[in-house]
Symmetry: C2
Subunit: 251 residues, 2 copies
DNA sequence: GCTAAAAAAGTAAAAAATACTTTTAATAAT
DNA sequence: ATTATTAAAAGTATTTTTTACTTTTTTAGC
């Protein structure tokens, strides 16, 4: 009986979000893979779960080892588990996907398994979203899960992320969008406190609209139940300094 | 390297919801375990994922084998994955939890691994929810995940569900509550079409309020963007027959 | 001090949610 | 058949929230 049970490898996939204060753009971390499969391809950071290691610990280790991040505090939450049998080419591996919201855009250092690590700018498209840097550009899909997995890329391509990472990213964006109105944890990428303008930037990106399409005055009224005033004001730009807010803790 | 990787057993746990038309109550399916650990205890239906089997297939097989259900169509969606190392006593097993919304309350038949299978009535409490039948009563928790897993029941008790199933059920209720306003898939337990009164019953239960606290006239206006008219009217009670509605399909 | 920029603060109109009443369509009793 | 009863649909006025827009405040730079 026991021999017919599946004991798959458990991949921890972590979508790491941050915010570039200089360009006011959302960033997603991608890794250039050092080993096959999908060697030389860009991918979401991944690691295999080890014996006697919790999934949370594995997600933490992933951030430290592969990317060289040493931040003390950041928020990680589970996204979903991806189990399609054709998502890997060789041995079966489930992907336990997490999202991490980094409170700052830290400098990166490629660790084991990575030829390169880069922040990619996250920007809205008409129907989807895209990740881009100077060299590459990737998009989220607009198809359904079934359609996507039917013709999964089995051979590496410069235009596509490794494995089913394009789909995982799509699910992540959908989740963030859904939670924008009742638990906007994505705002944690703005740091411990943020201005309403910064918050509106995030909302605008995921709702595929422009910053100016979201009225500051009305945004404040509609969302103040989610925020607490953080007292002091920032002084980064010309004009009247914005007040700072922080996320109201849950429960 | 490979030997230090974790290859855990994958448990598919399925929270099966349905609706008792006679009592107008929400039902959850529990199984009395035939084997250790937690032999003779009530638990959520579970099965191990097999080699070359998709998670979806395992969830389907679980419904057929353990419970004897032979319905043609039902909706299954992923809830979350539970990875705590202490959630099982023996060999490590991750729980890939799903929710199934059955369109009718079918008769049950205990299959392999089950001494008994029963529908439990799901009712709201002040702060939590409870499952009950003539003999037993279980509650969802009100603590956090960390607190819950710190003193997990390792020894069977008549008052508690097996493993961490009390916690899994709590997460399920929270998820359904969160999705009530934008994707109320739980309404699928009412069948292909439903009356507004039935829909209000579901909303009332998960919001821990009474049916009469949700005004029919206003409920219709506020939620019609989620529903489509299903034409015909039902004739089950005295009084003006209610119109039927169905869930508006996504996208 | 004056001007420009950017956010806060305020305000009136529009829209939506709520509480409540009336009408309609069925059953069951007379 | 007529009437009472039930329950839902439909309608309505009040309240509340959202939206679009205007004014004021607070800073930086000249």
């Amino acid at each position: 009986m026991a021999n017919i049970l599946e004991r798959p490898l458990i991949t921890i996939t972590n979508i790491i979000w941050s915010f570039n204060q200089a360009t006011q753009q959302i960033q997603v971390l991608l890794v250039k893979r050092a080993h096959d499969p999908f060697k030389n391809n860009w991918a979401l950071p991944e690691t295999f779960m080890r014996a006697n290691e919790s999934a949370d610990h594995a997600a933490l280790r992933l951030i430290k080892e592969k990317i060289g991040l040493t931040l003390a505090e950041f928020h990680t939450e589970q996204l979903a588990t991806f189990t399609n049998q054709h998502r890997t080419t060789g041995e079966r591996a489930l992907s336990l996907a997490y999202m991490t919201f980094l409170p700052e855009m830290t400098p990166l250092q490629a660790g084991y398994g990575a030829l390169d690590v880069r922040w990619f700018a996250f920007t809205p498209l008409e129907a989807a979203y895209q990740l881009s840097n100077q060299d590459c550009l990737f998009q989220t899909t607009t198809t359904t899960a079934d359609e996507y997995y039917q013709d999964l890329p089995q051979t590496p391509s410069d235009q596509q992320l490794a494995f089913d990472h394009q789909w995982i990213l799509t699910v992540a964006c959908q989740r963030i969008l859904n939670k924008l109105d009742y638990q906007p944890n994505i705002l944690m990428i703005l740091g411990p406190s943020f201005t309403l303008r910064e918050a509106r930037t995030i909302y605008a990106a995921f709702r595929k609209t422009s910053l100016t399409a979201i009225d500051n005055s009305n945004f404040k009224k509609t969302h103040q139940h989610l925020f607490l005033e953080a007292g002091t004001t920032s002084q980064l730009r010309v004009g009247r300094p914005a007040r700072l807010y922080r996320l109201k803790p849950q429960n």
